[in-house]
């Protein structure tokens, strides 16, 4: 249940559609996730009941400083409002969902049947309740854009604010884009940043999705990214969780066709007073597909990390290859990591493997390095940077890779007080 005072304040919002009211009812009934909910065991949001949330965020306008490297478009989502800066490339449109559906009436029933797993996800209800007619990025058939589309996601508020954002990306057949999303905040007040991103990847389409999550210490950021993949599509997803007091990623892949490839790469590096929780779902619903999950974490200070990796292989999903790996280094005695791989396999002709490890840097390796004259601090730095580099190196885009690499290296060195000669 949602706290009484919050129920009162959220009910003052008027002009909600029927669907929104329905979702609001669900959210009010469930309230914020608590540690009693299995899916939120280590990442309770009960404390959000204690704030007097402003439910309608301020309108923002931001002059976004363009990156040095080549990009094909800049799209901003500022406190939930999405627009593009300047023209979009040929074959890409940004429009409201209502207009998109009006132009694609046949898609409506397909969309309604998509069936994501929403157990214990009251924040999805909250988002649905407060977002009306969100934006759609529509990539037309056969359109291949080499330069990344840069997405600037920003939350802000002059008082404690709950920000809901939603974006739908629709890739038609044979299309290809790289979506580089910078998630940021500008506020010293508590912000609940509740972001839903749903992505439809049609036959033969290829999406590279890169999320750079670097928000302030006053921010609670919950990212729900649901990706629906059709036949022979390919998605390379990267999630770099760098900063925020609380960062939760619900990253879901629904494999709805054969010959699909889903690659999930993630790196989380929480430091002092930070919690980062990844709940991934890879749902193999059709045969002959492949998923690869590679997650790494470095936990510093008194950080808490959570990794829950669900893989479902449904009865029809014969000849599935599903691979999952999650490796963590506790770089501090006070840090904790909770891992839970969860495989549910109903098909018999499948190859699945998974492995999770959590440990400290090896004493053997540190002694070996020190015996060569390398100081303990440098040895630790070298080992940690090599550890995270294996995820960063999978990024093909050189400038984005360099930018993220610098940021990650700086955070680790600053958190541990280490420097490299």
């Amino acid at each position: 249940m949602l706290e009484k005072t919050l129920v009162d304040s959220i009910k003052t919002i008027d002009s909600l559609t029927q669907a929104q009211q329905l979702a609001l009812g669900k959210f009010i009934d469930k309230g914020f996730p608590t540690s009693k909910w299995e899916e939120w065991k280590y990442a309770s949001l009960k404390h959000l009941n204690e704030r007097d949330w402003k439910w309608s965020p301020e309108k923002l306008s931001v002059d976004f400083s363009k990156p040095q490297w080549k990009h094909s478009a800049i799209i901003q989502t500022l406190n939930g409002n999405t627009h593009s800066e300047g023209a979009l490339p040929q074959g890409i449109a940004l429009l409201p969902m209502s207009e998109f559906m009006a132009q694609n009436p046949a898609f409506d029933s397909v969309w309604k049947a998509r069936n994501p797993i929403l157990d214990q996800n009251s924040l999805y209800d909250l988002n649905e309740a407060l977002v009306n007619d969100h934006a759609v990025l529509w990539v037309k058939k056969g359109v291949k854009i080499v330069e990344p589309l840069l997405h600037h996601y920003l939350v802000s508020g002059q008082q404690d604010t709950a920000v809901q954002s939603k974006l739908f990306i629709y890739l038609e057949e044979d299309s290809e884009i790289t979506w580089f999303e910078q998630q940021r905040s500008e506020s010293s007040h508590a912000i609940l940043s509740n972001y839903v991103q749903e992505i439809w990847v049609s036959k033969n389409a290829h999406l590279t999705l890169i999320k750079d999550q670097d928000l302030q210490q006053s921010i609670t950021h919950v990212d729900h990214t649901f990706i629906f993949q059709q036949e022979s599509s390919l998605v390379d997803a990267f999630t770099f969780s760098i900063n925020a007091a609380y960062l939760r990623n619900n990253l879901h892949f629904y494999i709805d066709g054969p010959q699909v490839v889903s690659n999930l790469n993630g790196l989380y590096i929480p430091g002092e007073d930070q919690l980062m929780d990844t709940h991934s779902v890879v749902d193999h619903r059709m045969p002959h597909s492949e998923s690869n999950e590679l997650y790494k974490g470095v936990l510093m200070g008194n950080a808490t990390g959570v990794f829950n990796g669900k893989i479902f292989v449904r009865p029809d999903a014969q000849k599935t290859n599903a691979f999952q790996s999650c490796k963590n280094v506790l770089a501090s005695d006070r840090a904790t990591m909770n891992t839970k791989p969860q495989l549910e396999i109903w098909a018999d002709d499948v190859k699945c493997s998974h492995g999770t490890t959590t440990g400290q840097l090896s004493d053997e390796a540190l002694f070996y390095m020190r015996s060569r004259g390398i100081s303990k601090a440098t040895a630790q730095t070298l080992l940690l940077l090599a550890f995270v580099q294996q995820v960063i190196d999978k990024l093909e885009h050189e400038e984005i890779r360099a930018e993220l690499s610098d940021k990650i290296v700086n955070k680790i060195q600053a958190s541990l007080g280490l420097t490299l000669l």
């Binding site: 015996s371 060569r372 080992l383």
Partner: protein, 249 residues
Amino acid sequence: MLSVKNLHARIGDKEILNGINLEVHAGEVHAIMGPNGSGKSTLASVLAGRSDYEVSEGSVEFFGKDLLDLSPEARAAEGLFLAFQYPVEIPGVSTTNFMKSAINEIRAYRGQDAMDAVQFLKMFKEKMAYVNIDQTLLSRALNEGFSGGEKKRNEIFQMAVLEPKLAILDETDSGLDIDALRIVAEGVNKLKTPQNATILVTHYQRLLDYIIPDFVHVLYKGKIVKSGNKDLALELEERGYDWIISALD
């Protein structure tokens, strides 16, 4: 250069070194032999500064400094080198990057300027020739997936780069075929100068056909129970260790 006096070391309650005495001077080669489990690797590790072992008694001086008071990295910077019996895998760090960090930290310790990329390239090229090692191996993550021979050769390459005053080679010969053994031994011989010294730890006399020791010591139950010249190694080869041990017990 090295003076070990009455060295005792233990792990937990287990006494492993029981009063070692050893004097090593510049220009000398010492062989330390002895059956498995007699404490040879422990002695090497204690000298290099592994913290698992507690030194309960005795002293070690290295060029007049109290070695036991120094961190492992400071010992390396002072000129001590240990070639590991089991070299450790360092995931994601290439030998070249590893050696660059080592060299520049040691140079900083000694108050010398850092070496630049060009100087490194030239130096590495020179040292690679010593042990007949190639560039691809040096670019790979250190020791990861290396064969036994590659690991040992890489240890000697690191030794060539670091130019230690005292090198301790722990079973560097084990696991090597005869060709690899010869290459490793030649590398060690080439690196020998009148200013440095070598301690060879081995339980075979095989390596000593290639690197001739000035002194041979037998370690047993954490103590040096017999010392001699290279003929002692030959005698051990012929007669084993039992005759020494039974004379003690």
